[in-house]
Symmetry: C2
Subunit: 100 residues, 2 copies
DNA sequence: TGTATTTTTGACAAATTCATTCAAAATAGA
DNA sequence: TCTATTTTGAATGAATTTGTCAAAAATACA
């Protein structure tokens, strides 16, 4: 149940790399990466894709992790969070079938 | 499977009220309400609560509709949309159990 | 038709949020 | 302690959101 931040921090620490190295690859300030790892900032799509490339993990897995983090953030503190997520699922399924 | 906008437009038309009337109750310009009804603008929490009050419907139902709209919007155009919603659900459940 | 009413649109401004940079402070390890 | 790394927060600028307003478009209906 790791967040994107926790996931990439673990990966980075496994390889014993400083923030600097990964940040350079992403072409961002290391302060930003530090914040992303601790969930204080949102990564953008491009950064997630590059992170997957850097750590050689499946891009889609990391994208799901990133997207779901954003969703959780969106409904945080709402009593109706779970219900809203379930209804959103229905809506997405409905839209999908409608588009065919 | 109605969006918040569709829901409140139907309610307003049932009662044959002009945008003006509902907008006045919400204390917003009728242009904004027009856009909310057609999904071009997001309502805020306060407006949703007032709309429920105005139309005398359950506040929670309208909040779920509003929240789920935002979630759908967030994952729109993403292939991983459904998966992300499911993972987000797991995360919310996990956080809930953890907070106890 | 013509007229009144309602709805939609888009330009604009204000307010708010968001991302980024930077340097200093805190932390960790030898 | 010395050094490298990480975290923090203030400052800035960019981007997004929010609302106002007036005109245009659509609608209703005599």
């Amino acid at each position: 149940m790791d967040s994107l931040g926790e996931t990439i921090r673990k990966l980075r620490e496994e390889k014993e790399l400083p923030l600097r190295t990964v940040a350079a690859f992403l072409d961002i300030d290391q302060a930003i990466l530090s914040k992303i790892e601790r969930g204080q900032r949102n990564a953008n799509r491009e950064q997630v894709v590059k992170l997957a490339e850097f750590f050689k993990i499946k891009e889609n897995e990391l994208l799901v992790s990133w997207l779901s983090d954003k969703l959780v953030y969106e409904v945080a503190d709402e009593d109706m969070a779970l219900k809203a997520l379930q209804v959103a699922e229905e809506k997405v399924k409905y839209n999908k079938s409608k588009r065919k």
